[in-house]
């Protein structure tokens, strides 16, 4: 890489040439180690700490690294700030390839070291940046404080200072082992080390026990006196807009299929009337009435449900519950429509995980905001929205197999959380 790596070959045979090589090493390493320009790149929480570290309080400029370049071609350092997802992985590899050598990588935060909080039951997070690109320095923390990042930077500096023309920096390879679980590997190594230590120490321990048969550790665990707290009653806040009972009655009069899901034997109206004031009414409704009901509450002057909070779904064994949460900005009441969508069991069992299992009319023509929300439900549950203008996957890749929020979803790279 570069002319200076030829220097030892040319100069070493010449008498005194190795001193020149050493001098070149010294100057170039000094320059490289002290002028590290990072790339502006950040995905989540760590990015904010990375920004903080370049701000007035911490001031990364003291180390000459405040020149955050937004183009990878001018950067030296790639600070991986934030979780890396499978969708982002190709972009990261490309960015790394675009940085001209010598280039260095700092993996900042737990997510880029092992997957961090997202290691178990996760289908989308890459467990560690090391699985994608070679990493020079790991900075632990969730997120690491700016001081920790500085420590990482200075550690990197030491690493650069060790390079010479004779053993120059060399570009590592891009890896693609996103299935690798670095945490477990580390745990295994750690356990092996512990065992080795145990075996080494076994004799000494036995000896100690012989010499001091009734030795007791002077350490006593500190017990903090537990504070006593009173029990406090929860106070539900005031009711705004129509009461749940009124809403239920009005909807029931209009749509026969409206019910409320209860576990008690009491009549529904009593249950609804006994609801705390700040609990939104959740009505069950048939798929056929769903669109009509939403349209009705949107246009009815007494309801005025003009604000769509969210559209989401819940997966059960034989059906999905599509929950459409609406509220009225002006009046202040909320109604949640819960539509039971029966799963289509005509589809052969092998194809079920990868095929759309339910159908429901879209409400994106009534609420433009529902368009992305319905795309999310489509992406996560595989519910087909009839008449949706742009039904594509939203969070996952186009070629992703399966619908992750279904209970029976499996992914080859998912690790179950040990209970």
């Amino acid at each position: 890489m570069g002319i200076i790596n030829l220097a030892p070959k040319v100069l070493d045979p010449i008498p005194g040439g190795k001193y020149v090589v050493n001098a070149i090493d010294y100057v170039v390493n000094w320059a490289r180690a002290n002028s590290i320009w990072p790339l502006t790149y950040g995905t989540s929480c760590c990015a904010i700490e990375m920004m903080s570290s370049s701000m007035a309080r911490y001031d990364i400029a003291r180390f000459g690294s405040e020149v955050f370049r937004s183009s990878p071609r001018q950067a030296d350092l790639f600070i991986l700030a934030g979780t890396i997802t499978r969708r982002m992985a190709p972009a990261i590899q490309m960015l790394w390839e675009q940085i001209p050598g010598p280039k260095y990588v700092i993996a900042m935060g737990a997510c880029t070291i092992s997957g961090g909080p997202f290691i178990y039951d996760n289908y989308s997070v890459v467990r560690g940046a090391q699985n994608l690109i070679p990493v020079d320095v790991f900075v632990p923390g969730c997120p690491p404080r700016p001081e920790a990042l500085f420590h990482g930077l200075l550690t990197l500096r030491e690493k650069i200072l060790k390079e010479t023309c004779r053993e120059p920096w060399h570009e590592g390879d891009i890896r693609n082992v996103s299935t690798m679980d670095r945490y477990r590997e580390a745990a295994k190594t750690w356990a092996a080390l512990e065992q080795m230590k145990d075996e080494e120490m076994a004799d000494a321990r036995a000896k100690f026990k012989e010499e001091h048969p009734d030795y007791k550790s002077p350490y006593k665990p500190v017990r903090i006196k537990k504070e006593e707290f009173p029990e406090v009653e929860r106070v539900a806040c005031k009711r705004y807009g129509m009461s749940q009972l009124d809403i239920y009655k009005k909807l029931k009069a209009k749509f026969q299929s409206v019910t409320v899901h209860t576990h008690s034997e009491d009549p529904i109206e009593d249950v609804v009337a006994a609801m705390p004031a700040d609990r939104p009414l959740e009505v069950m409704i048939d798929v056929e009435d769903y669109l009509g009901a939403v349209e009705y509450v949107k246009n009815d002057p007494e309801f005025k449900m003009d604000f769509l909070i969210d559209v989401t779904a819940i997966d059960y064994d034989d059906h999905f519950d599509l929950v459409t949460q609406l509220r009225s900005i002006e009046i202040g009441h909320k109604v949640f429509f819960c539509v039971q969508i029966k799963k289509d069991f005509n589809i052969p069992e092998a194809d079920r995980p990868t095929s759309l299992l339910g159908k429901v009319p879209t409400i994106s023509h009534l609420y433009p905001g529902a368009e992305v929300k319905e795309r999310e439900v489509y992406d996560m549950f595989g519910i087909d929205f009839e008449g949706h203008p742009d039904q594509r996957r939203i969070f996952l890749d186009r070629d992703f197999v399966g619908y992750p929020l279904r209970k029976d979803f499996t992914h080859p790279e998912m690790i179950r959380r040990p209970v």
């Binding site: 490289r32 701000m55 003291r62």
Partner: protein, 372 residues
């Protein structure tokens, strides 16, 4: 007929020395023509080295200064670790960039890609050669100084346009087009203000423009013509900021919008050249402002003989660079204070505001010259 107004001690010295050295050569080599050619070449070499030294030597200082000024505006410290208060920081940066990998993106027009940064460097170097640093320190004392500067400044656009176009990147292209439009527009008002200076000083030679301001501080063009001079100075400041593509008019780079604009795809040494060109342009523009408005190398005499004697004792070069660095400091403060206008607003500002004001200024200046 233009008469060179300066004595050229270095040139004379070389012209004097060359025959004495050639004396030692065989007689067949001795001729007046050869002597004058050699003297000319040696002089040219000295000039080139001098210009390079001034430009390339001051660029790291300016970069360091910018980083420090920016840091202190933002309540930070700036580089602190390398050398005393980080003085060696930019040197480390430059060495590092020289030893970085250099490559052109696939699909780039390689010849143009590597040529562009060189072209960008041409303009400030030529301008620098025309600036009188002191009574006897000027590389090229040409009669048509101002028109030459106006002509040469156009090279900068060419380099940026070429660089942006040859990178094969849409961001670069957008940045290049933006900067092309911006620099060509602002060149007009830039030239107009220089014309104003030419008009009031009655000369296009930079040395005579400077010497026309001899006297006290109130004889500088910025103060000599009441109000008009100051307005012209402000207009020059604005249009030269835009001419240099510096913030707040850095829409061509626009890091938040175009990730670096025309130099997005540049790395290593070519990028260092763009980086240097920005700062060399800064120093030449400041030098131009100093020459045209702030009395060049003349000391800021205030009319009290006792003080003036002391001020006159300081060499002109020092006064010149003091003023230049003051100007640079102004440019830097503006850069770190203002936000960036949008591309169309910038154009509107030039064509709908700056240019009419310039025309009015020229007219007013002409009237003033006739009356006074």
């Amino acid at each position: 007929m233009f008469v060179p107004s300066v004595t050229n001690p270095i040139g004379d010295f070389v012209r004097d020395m060359v025959p004495r050295i050639t004396e030692f050569l065989p007689a067949s080599f001795q001729s007046d023509t050869l002597n004058s050619v050699v003297a000319f070449l040696v002089n040219a070499l000295i000039c080139i080295i001098a210009v390079c030294a001034v430009n390339i030597g001051s660029a790291p200082i300016l970069i360091y200064m910018e980083r420090k000024v920016c840091a202190h505006v933002q309540c930070r410290l700036g580089p602190m670790r390398l050398g005393w208060h980080g003085t060696l920081q930019t040197i480390a940066d430059v060495i590092k960039m020289l030893f970085k990998e250099v490559y052109a993106p696939s699909g780039a027009d390689k010849l143009m890609f590597y040529l562009a940064p060189l072209i960008v460097l041409i303009a400030p170097f030529i301008v620098c050669a025309l600036i009188p640093f002191s009574r006897s320190l000027v590389v090229a004392d040409v009669s048509m100084g101002i028109p030459l500067i106006i002509a040469v400044n156009g090279f900068g656009v060419l380099g940026i346009l070429l660089g942006g176009w040859s990178s094969n990147n849409k961001y670069s292209l957008l940045g290049a087009l933006r900067s092309g439009a911006q620099m060509i527009s602002y060149e007009i008002s830039f030239a107009m203000i220089l014309l104003f200076v030419v008009m009031i000083s009655g000369s296009t030679n930079l040395m005579s423009i400077t010497l026309g301001q001899e006297g006290t501080i109130f004889d500088w063009w910025i103060f000599k013509i009441p109000v008009l001079g100051f307005i012209a100075f402000i207009l020059f400041f604005i249009s030269s900021t835009a001419e240099m593509n510096r913030a707040p008019f850095d829409i061509a780079e626009a890091e938040q919008e175009l990730t670096g604009g025309y130099h997005t795809e540049y790395n290593g040494t070519p990028f260092a050249m763009f980086y240097l060109a920005e700062y060399i342009a800064l120093i030449t523009n400041s030098a131009l402002a100093t020459t045209c408005f702030l009395g060049g190398f003349l000391p800021p005499c205030i009319g009290i003989e006792f003080v003036d004697n002391y001020l006159n004792m300081v060499p002109g070069v020092i006064w010149f660079f003091a003023k230049v660095y003051f100007m640079i400091w102004c440019y830097m403060m503006v850069r770190w204070t203002f936000v960036r206008p949008r591309v169309d607003q910038l154009m509107d500002f030039e064509w709908k505001f700056l240019l009419p004001v310039n025309l009015v200024l020229l007219t007013a200046g002409a009237i003033y010259m006739v009356i006074v």
